[in-house]
Assembly symmetry: C2
Homo-oligomer: 282 residues x 2
């Protein structure tokens, strides 16, 4: 682990680290916000998964999350969105390859050599984070767009790993929208039956021991709403299966980080409540 950025921020520190990922077979960058409370003892961790084209920088520079993490005493961990570097395959287009890992474990060449973002977030990051930072074992997860898909799938596939899950403008049904069909087709290929394990709507419909409540915020002026996001499919899946869902439709808001910034405070308060953290006097 090598620290490559460190900035004081709301009484804590916004850092960027570089580390070797054995799961991905490349060096990765990781945004880590340490709130002031981390100087006193272990804090719970909120993982944030970003969307298409993003790196670890977008969330840490644009979402305004640090103010709220400092108030509630949460560590924020923001990984990159794909493996990167020499030897990592890429393709034309912003929606496949670099910046577009889709938080799956690819099984199809050439992607299967490096594209295992699911295992990276689920299995490699928690011990790394809990070993290097004052992080307790309580975890929550959230994300935006492709990263909202990632957060939902991670939480649904790993009961007990996260105490709460939320998403902004998530791709809820990748098997049924163009971005997802392209990505799952490239990374997993045929048969399509294998895609169900990476589709939040399918996972919600499966019998489950745990029904972790899902919170989703969705802008109604989002340019991808009807084609790529289709929150009504998650609504139907949750209704049919009795899975608790809070879907908040926000009139006027689009797909940008201006939307995320406007409601990140509510999401962090939601996660802090689940993580049983007391807010410091603010």
């Amino acid at each position: 682990m090598e620290r490559i950025e460190s900035h004081a921020s709301f009484g804590g520190t916004q850092e960027v680290w570089r580390h070797r990922s054995h799961v991905l077979g490349c060096d990765m960058r990781l945004g880590v916000y340490l709130p002031p409370q981390a100087a006193e003892g272990p804090c719970p961790v909120l993982y944030w998964l970003s969307g298409l084209t993003c790196t670890e920088q977008n969330f840490i520079t644009k979402a305004g999350a640090q103010e709220h993490a400092a108030r509630h005493g949460l560590i924020l961990v923001a990984p990159d969105t794909s493996p990167r570097g020499e030897g990592v395959p890429d393709a034309d287009g912003y929606d496949i390859g670099l910046g577009a890992g889709f938080y799956v474990d690819a099984t199809r060449a050439p992607w299967s050599s490096h594209y295992r973002m699911h295992s990276y977030v689920a299995n490699e990051l928690p011990p790394l984070v809990e070993g290097h930072f004052p992080a307790g074992g309580a975890r929550a997860i959230s994300g935006h767009s492709m990263g909202g898909h990632g957060a939902l799938v991670l939480a649904l596939r790993h009961p007990g790993r996260y105490r709460s899950v939320s998403a902004f403008s998530p791709i809820v049904a990748p098997s049924r929208v163009p971005w997802g069909e392209k990505a799952l087709g490239e990374y997993l290929g045929e048969p399509r039956e294998a895609w169900a394990a990476w589709d939040a709507c399918e996972l919600v419909r499966a019998p489950r021991a745990e029904r972790l409540p899902i919170r989703v915020d969705q802008g109604e002026a989002d340019e991808f709403l009807a084609t790529q996001l289709r929150p009504e499919l998650l609504e139907a899946a949750c209704r049919d299966s009795g899975h608790p869902l809070q879907l908040l439709r926000r009139p006027g808001y689009d797909h940008s980080y201006y939307f995320v910034a406007s409601f990140i405070g509510e999401h962090i308060a939601f996660h802090a409540a689940a993580l049983n953290v007391n807010a410091a006097a603010s």
Copy 2:
């Protein structure tokens, strides 16, 4: 005026406009945040001047100012940092030419053809803003680094134009630091006596009818503190001349927007008090 971006943000709208500047002789982009209160009637305006290398984007995407502007009912206006486009001269280096207008009116060729950022901000923007947006006549001004210099000089040169002035990490004495000596040398040339009109420390020392209180926040881990910023020079000038100054030194904070974001809420509250705006219930 052509609107080229519009995003819902904290109940208001973050917009970017393109307009023809007659003062600068080119098209310019302008960030404008309209708080929810602007739908009800005129709001006061806080002008924000950005630093070297910035465009109108940096402040609107990174500072987290919209949350606070929405709470206090302020319009935020964030211009670009230099003229741009075909025919606008540039030079090698980030600290002169494009992105480095230094908020002066250049008198030396080739810069004098377009580089009149002072007149643009002081004279062209207010009637433009007040004619196109629900903006009342109450104005405040702030900025970062080169833009902090700009804000101080604008306020000191135009008594009565702004009700309050603040700065983050400003270049307070451009006549005596490398960035400023290079810029004033290029834009104004000899004799150096002409530089005093663009130097906050010199302006503060001149006899003044108005002594508008200055608020400055300065990070103590700022990498440019000792070489380019030198707040102790402003402190001495204000002490000698009896000019009210609140200089807040912030241990651990650097020159980045992480510093600006951490304290922009305090600055906006400071300006809102001067502009006599009541905070909405937050």
